[in-house]
Amino acid sequence: MARLKRVQLIILLSVVVAGLIVAGAFYYTSQLAGFVESQEGELNIIADLKTEQIAQWYQNQIHFVNHISESSVLLQKDFEQPGEAVDLMIEHANLFRGFDGVCLYDRSGGLIASSRERRAWPQEVLKAIVPKAIERREIQFSDLFVDDTRPKEPIRMVFAAPILTEGIIPDVLGVVAVVIDPYKELYPLIQTWPLPSDSAEILMVRREGDEIVFLNELRHQKDTALKLTRSVQQKNLPAAWVVQGETKVGQGVDYRGIPVVATGRPVPGTSWFIVVKTDAEEFFQPFRKSATRIITIFSLLILLAGGIAFIFHMNNQAYARKEEMAKARALNEELERRIHERTMQLEKAVIDLKASNKNLEAFSYSVSHDLRAPLRGIDGFSQALLEDYKDALDEQGQEYLNRLRAAAQRMAELIDDLLQLSRVSLSPMNFEKVDLSKMAAEIAAEMMKADPEAEAVAEIEPDITGFGDARLLRIVLVNLISNAWKFSGKSPNPRIGFSAASDGETQTFTVRDNGVGFDEKYVDKLFQPFQRLHSSKDFPGTGIGLATVDRIIRRHGGTVRAQSSPGGETRFSFTLKKGDA
């Protein structure tokens, strides 16, 4: 699987999620638009249907009234003997479902006959409308009104049609006023929704100045017909926009204060407006499911993207961890390999060192043994010559032989000192508490014994102990004391001394003498092998002793110092670490 960096992954995920959200929103919107369109179409169809039905109904009423007024049963004579004619008329009118009653007036507006007794009619409305019909010679409509004479279902409407004579200029014989009961036919017609619905409602209003008057009994509120009014200014009220001529589907808030989707139409030939509405909740209900489905699907897609990203991430991490572990393992292996290599090198070095030590030992052995033998020959046979052929040699010849012997002996010394120098570097160290005072005293005693004529005085501080290898420290003291002995030998009152001082973890030991000393500017050369500050004629020596001392003290972790003023005191000091002992 291709490896994505975390940032790349986040960007990719963001892009995918953003894409899904946009796609989801777009899909949702288009689905919603499609849905709304189809829902609105439904509302429009219903609005058109209802408008047409009501308009038709209205026309039917006019036809009905006209039919009665024009019916031949109402003739001149009928107004003199109206009983039978009115009976016929009523019989006729009863065929219409919406019919409530009928009244017959003469040409001066006087009531001739009616289908019920007199007091049972809305007199005020009739008194207003009947003369109009006589005067204008055409059918008059009262619109819906409240008939106070009826306690229940009081809404009525009246058509008043003139009864005209035949002829070019017809004469008015009388007026037929038909009372229509809207509860019977109109209201059911309005309120019938063609589809089952919980909240859908059709209502009818008319405008009276700045007021909207609700004309029918509403589905959700009782006792509203001709009683409930709303202001035309109420912008979000569907009835308000409908009475102002707007017929588009829109969202608003109805008389109950509940959000609705609504549309409306004016009913042709009347002052009425139809409002068709359904609660927004119910309107959008069918879409809610698909909305939920859309949201669910896109949420799942986003989750899926997140999940894939997460898997990628985990995979990356696992991969990174794996890689790290592999790296660590590789590093480990490399380290082990190097350790092994180094160990091998070290082992080899140790072996080499052992071998070279062994070689060096063999070399030292050869040197000490094989180089000395020829020297002994030179010295021995020179001596033999001097002894056996003394007479054959003049003084100079004898001198030469003596020089030969001296040279051989000096060479032997050099060899011995060189051997010692190499041995002090190689020999194993055996640390212990060493009585240096006693050691110095023994060495001084040996010196005196070897040179009994010397007048040197040795001042050795008692009980000085040091911590180190006794054999090597003896070599140090031998070299330093013999030097002191040697270089003070020519002083008037030769004096050598050995003392010690302690400073923290370090002890400083000093061998001093009042000999010739040395020039301090050459102090660095003192401890180099074969470096001499005095001629071997004045002070014999190989120039290796102090180099040996320096090497031994350094092997002990200490330092050597020399101080001198020519003619004054000369001090050779070395330091040793204090031991645990």
């Binding site: 030292s364 052995y365 000490s368 043994h369 094989d370 000395r372 033998a373 020829p374 020297l375 002994r376 020959g377 010295d379 021995g380 046979f381 020179s382 001596q383 033999a384 012997r405 051989a408 002996q409 060479m411 032997a412």
Partner: protein, 143 residues
């Protein structure tokens, strides 16, 4: 190898110069014992451990250490392993003053260890002292 007298000194020495110088030194002292020279370790053992005991044992052996074939230390070991020569006085007389040579010689039962000085005067003194000590002062079971 020629017939030797009793009381001889066996000098085991591969270096002709040293041989000559040692003999000269011995002669310069008052020691009159005959000196038998073996030029290497093998020769020395042949002389000392010959079948049938053809040679009398020398009064002392002056033994060099560094020699071809058998070294002085190996000769010393053989001398000490053999019943006949076990108590023979052996003096290691060598150029070496290596500590391990000294230690090993003593652990093999050497009677004395003397380093040959380069200075012939000292050499002479050393040989004289050895001779005096072992020929004159020392009491040996082999006498």
């Amino acid at each position: 190898m020629r017939e030797v007298r009793k009381d001889a000194i066996l000098l085991v020495e591969d270096n002709a110069d040293d041989e000559l110088l040692t003999i000269r030194a011995l002669k310069k002292t008052k020691i009159a014992n005959e000196i038998v020279v073996a030029h290497d370790g093998e020769e020395a053992l042949e002389y000392l451990l010959a079948e049938g005991g053809g040679n009398d044992l020398p009064v002392m052996v002056l033994l060099d250490l560094k020699m071809p074939k058998l070294s002085g230390l190996e000769v010393l070991r053989e001398i000490r392993l053999n019943a006949r020569t076990r108590s023979l006085p052996v003096v290691v007389f060598t150029s070496s003053n290596e500590e391990k040579d000294v230690v090993e010689s003593y652990s093999l039962g050497v009677n004395s260890y003397v380093r040959k000085p380069v200075d012939f005067s000292q050499f002479l003194e050393a040989v004289e002292r050895i001779g005096l000590y072992w020929m004159v002062l020392n009491e040996s079971p082999n006498r």
